[in-house]
């Protein structure tokens, strides 16, 4: 047999087994990435969907985060980014990332329990400010609130100078 053909056979074997590994591990470890709305629809369709490993992209509802004093577990309510009426309570066991705060966009990985609580095994907080903290027109920059109030009272125009820094508020 020509060396070229032998090589092609060997190559096909390598690529074939790689593809097999890829396909089977997607079967085994691939996870649905859903929004809370989609999760509700799935569960409504097929009650056995409860307790299947999924990833959910949602938002942590402000004010619902209850941290265990030990810092090892926490509870919060996640809501759909588009529809805040679709919510799930989440229980997460583990150390929360530094970026996890009120209102942050989260990705939780875990299983929905029969009682409707989502038990998360991983919690990723994707903060818009993680790498890209560009606020709309400087929202979040110091003095922004003062500026907004000032702007409202002077509809004629806004001087392009710095609002005087108020005394330290700490």
């Amino acid at each position: 047999m020509k060396a070229r053909n032998k090589f092609l056979i060997g190559g096909a074997l390598v690529l074939g087994s790689a593809s097999y590994l890829m396909a089977s591990s997607i079967q085994d470890t691939g996870q649905y990435f859903l929004t809370p709305t989609e999760l509700q629809a799935k569960v409504a369709d097929d009650p056995s969907f409860v307790n299947q490993g999924v990833k959910i992209g949602a938002k942590a509802v402000p004010g619902t985060i209850v941290r265990d004093p030990s810092g090892r577990s926490l509870r919060f309510v996640m809501a759909d980014m588009a529809d805040s009426t679709k919510t799930y309570p989440v229980y997460y066991k583990g150390i929360a990332p530094d970026t996890f705060t009120d209102g942050v966009e989260v990705v939780v990985e875990g299983r929905l329990q029969a009682d409707g609580t989502f038990h998360a095994t991983t919690l990723l907080a994707k903060c818009a400010s993680r790498y890209e903290n560009a606020p709309e027109q400087g929202e979040g920059t110091p003095g922004y609130k003062e500026y907004q109030q000032y702007k409202g009272k002077h509809p004629a125009g806004v001087p392009k100078t710095a609002a005087p820094a108020p005394a330290s508020q700490s």
Binding site: A3, K126, E132
Partner: protein, 682 residues
């Protein structure tokens, strides 16, 4: 200066447009005046981009918070060094930074490409590079302008994300960009070679040099990225198969494949289609990587905010792919191979498999990264794959690659004889086998780890044997002492022995990766004076005693710290402390979420990695302690790979002199039939 910079951006845009137009037109009509004008315009583009960049740096250092970019990423109390690096901390600035490097490379490529051997390609190289530069400038001018102004001037900026305030983050992005961007020059040469149909070896020399440069910076950049993730993100590892990490790995993989397959084309005239495709793919993958990071299309913890810039990149990517595919398809005849594979037991075959595996790995990584999008298109459902997917697929492929790393240098070109095989393989195989057996005897049971270490032993055997034989030959022929012989051996065959140094670094890294299979983690709670005793993977007993929690204010942050007094087997080794930090702005207002500083006690055997998870009351500290075996060797391996890359790249000044030296070829180890003369192409 700021205004001048802003204007320069637009002038650069016009210059790049001019350069692109006249370069292609001049090349088509054979008009030297237009071609020269295009080259000069490209130099000018570089000049104006420099001015534009200086303008942005000026804005950063003068704290001109009326500029959105400055207000968004810096604050008045930000340390100077991070004010400087804020240049690439955000989208718009990093695009300008990218353009700065690109324009610099383009100018350098045109300047070094004026020689007689590459002259014919130059108009198209200039044109292609101008088009790419034009694209980046247009993206900035119309999509994400770093000079965009706010309609008011905040008294202070938002400050820089504390996680970016790290020396690793200061160097990692520039290195990665230097690597990413350098792929454009080989791409430009590939386009030029395809257009002019001059597809013999001439275009490969500059392409190889630039690919090496790109490979070198990507290697450093990726290693620094791993280091940054490890010391800064605090989750205990250095690689999470995050889309952004994958994006940096992809061009590295195809670039590595190319640096191997180019040797086959130089020696045998084979693989011409493949090489052109690899060069183009590497460039397209680095654009894709940028697209992934910038568009927010794939869920990633580090992606930039969703932005219209993503669409620009998607468009550019589609156009580039279409253009490349058309060029290759219309030139298939010119790309015909000049030789055939003669035997499966030959260096060509080993290199071909090496390419196959590297491209297989890149394909699987690409597939896994894009799978959420693909599945949504095809099935309407977003399905994600995580580390288990990447590990299942890439661990076996990686081990195969490791084996090939050991085989390639040992086997002869064209057709290896049985005696060649016996002479070359005995020692390395023995080293590998002994390593494997010894580890099993010592009680190691992790299958992949054992295979990895056995193969690593095999490759170390290969490299050691190569250096040993080469040095011994010089010693006996020239009567030099061993050190001189070794230095001259490497110095006169930089490409070959530099490559071995790179292999050495890579194998060290693989061995270190396998070490993570033995990681141990403990979650503990300690009050002041309380201790915890744990065993590390090597069997040592460690005791950690809390020294208490302290809280204080430093520079631009409030710090809560815990110190652990660590002893190993009863001997005190030192204090490891971990901090929680709350950064504040110049008016003492908290900025960003609290961040964690991990405490790491580095060692050759393992890192002791301490993370403060939280404090209850005043002194009850929740701590995670992890033993991460062999991590230090990852950084070491990356460093060695960098050194190897430098050896390979170092210009061979006395090349001609060396060639005249008659001993040059003969002084190699007893060459098996067809053993290559080390290449002299720089």
């Amino acid at each position: 200066m700021i205004l001048v910079g802003e204007l320069s951006l637009w002038v650069a845009l016009l210059m790049a447009a001019w350069s692109a137009t006249v370069s292609f037109a001049g090349a088509r009509d054979g008009r030297a005046d237009l071609v020269h004008s295009g080259e000069r315009a490209l130099y000018a583009t570089f000049g104006f981009v420099i001015v534009a960049s200086i303008g942005l740096w000026t804005a950063l250092f003068t704290h001109d918070f009326s500029i959105k970019f400055v207000a968004s990423y810096t604050s008045a109390n930000l340390p100077k060094v991070y004010t400087f690096t804020a240049f690439w901390a955000g989208q718009a600035g990093s695009l300008l930074f990218w353009t700065l490097i690109l324009a610099g490379y383009a100018a350098a490529a045109v300047f070094t490409g004026r020689g007689p051997r590459t002259r014919a390609f130059l108009p198209y190289v200039t044109g292609t590079l101008s088009v790419i530069t034009l694209f980046f400038l247009a993206t900035m001018c119309f999509g994400a302008n770093p000079y965009e102004r706010l309609d008011w001037t905040p008294p202070d900026g938002r400050g820089m994300n504390p996680q970016l305030q790290n020396p690793g983050m200061a160097i990692h992005p520039p290195m990665l960009y230097l690597g990413y961007v350098a792929t454009s020059v080989p791409f430009a040469y590939a386009v030029a070679a395809l257009v002019t149909r001059k597809l013999d070896a001439e275009w490969l020399a500059p392409v190889r040099r630039w690919s090496l440069l790109s490979w070198f910076f990507l290697t450093i950049g990726i290693t620094l990225g791993m280091w940054w993730a490890y010391v800064e993100l605090g989750w205990g590892g250095y690689w999470a198969w995050d889309p952004v990490e994958n994006a940096s790995l992809l061009p590295w993989l195809t670039g590595t494949a190319f640096l191997h397959s180019i040797m086959i084309q130089e020696k045998r005239g084979m693989l011409r289609k493949w090489n052109v495709t690899l060069v183009a793919t590497t460039f397209l993958l680095s654009i894709l990587g940028t697209f992934i990071t910038r568009s927010g299309i794939i869920q990633s913890v580090h992606s930039f905010a969703q932005s219209p810039v993503g669409n620009w990149f998607a468009g550019f990517l589609v156009v580039s792919i279409a253009a490349t595919a058309w060029l290759v398809a219309t030139r298939l005849k010119d790309l015909a191979s000049q030789a055939e594979l003669e035997s499966m037991v030959s260096r060509e075959a080993a290199f071909l498999y090496n390419n196959l595996v590297l491209v297989g790995i890149s394909f699987s990584v690409l597939w896994g990264t894009l799978f959420p999008i693909l599945s949504e298109w095809v099935k309407g459902e977003k399905i994600t794959v995580g580390p288990p997917f990447f590990n299942t697929v890439n661990v076996p492929l990686g081990l195969l690659l490791l084996a090939l790393t050991g085989v390639g240098p040992l086997i002869a070109w064209r057709r290896a004889s049985l005696s060649n095989l016996r002479r070359q393989f005995t020692v390395p195989t023995a080293v590998g086998a002994v390593t494997g057996v010894a580890l099993v005897a010592l009680g190691m049971r992790d299958f992949y780890a054992i295979v990895c270490y056995a193969l690593a032993g095999f490759v170390f055997g290969t490299i050691g044997q190569e250096f040993w034989k080469g040095t011994r030959a010089r010693v006996s022929m020239h009567g030099e002492n061993a050190a001189v012989a070794l230095a001259r051996l490497v110095g006169r065959n930089r490409r070959r022995y530099g490559g071995y140094v790179v292999h050495f670094g890579m194998v060290t890294m693989f061995a270190a990766f396998a070490g993570m299979a033995f990681k141990k983690e403990y979650d503990i709670t300690l009050r002041t004076g309380q201790s915890y005793t744990a065993k590390d993977p090597w069997g040592h007993t460690w005791t950690f005693t809390s020294q208490g929690v302290s809280a204080y204010k430093a520079l631009n942050r409030y710090v809560t710290a815990v110190g652990l007094d660590a002893t190993r087997d009863g001997k005190r080794v030192g204090i490891i402390s971990s901090e929680k930090r709350q950064h504040v702005d110049s008016r003492d207002q908290p900025t960003f979420e609290p961040s964690t500083e991990v405490g790491i006690l580095e060692g050759a055997k393992q890192d002791v990695y301490v993370v403060l998870a939280g404090v209850t009351g005043t002194d009850r500290a929740e701590i995670r302690v992890a033993f991460n075996p062999l991590v230090w060797w990852v950084w070491f391996g990356g460093f060695v790979m960098g050194i190897g890359g430098l050896i390979v790249m170092w210009p061979q000044a006395e090349r001609r002199a060396t060639r005249r030296e008659s001993g040059y070829v003969a002084e190699l180890p007893p060459a098996p039939a067809g053993e290559p003369v080390p290449a002299t192409v720089p």
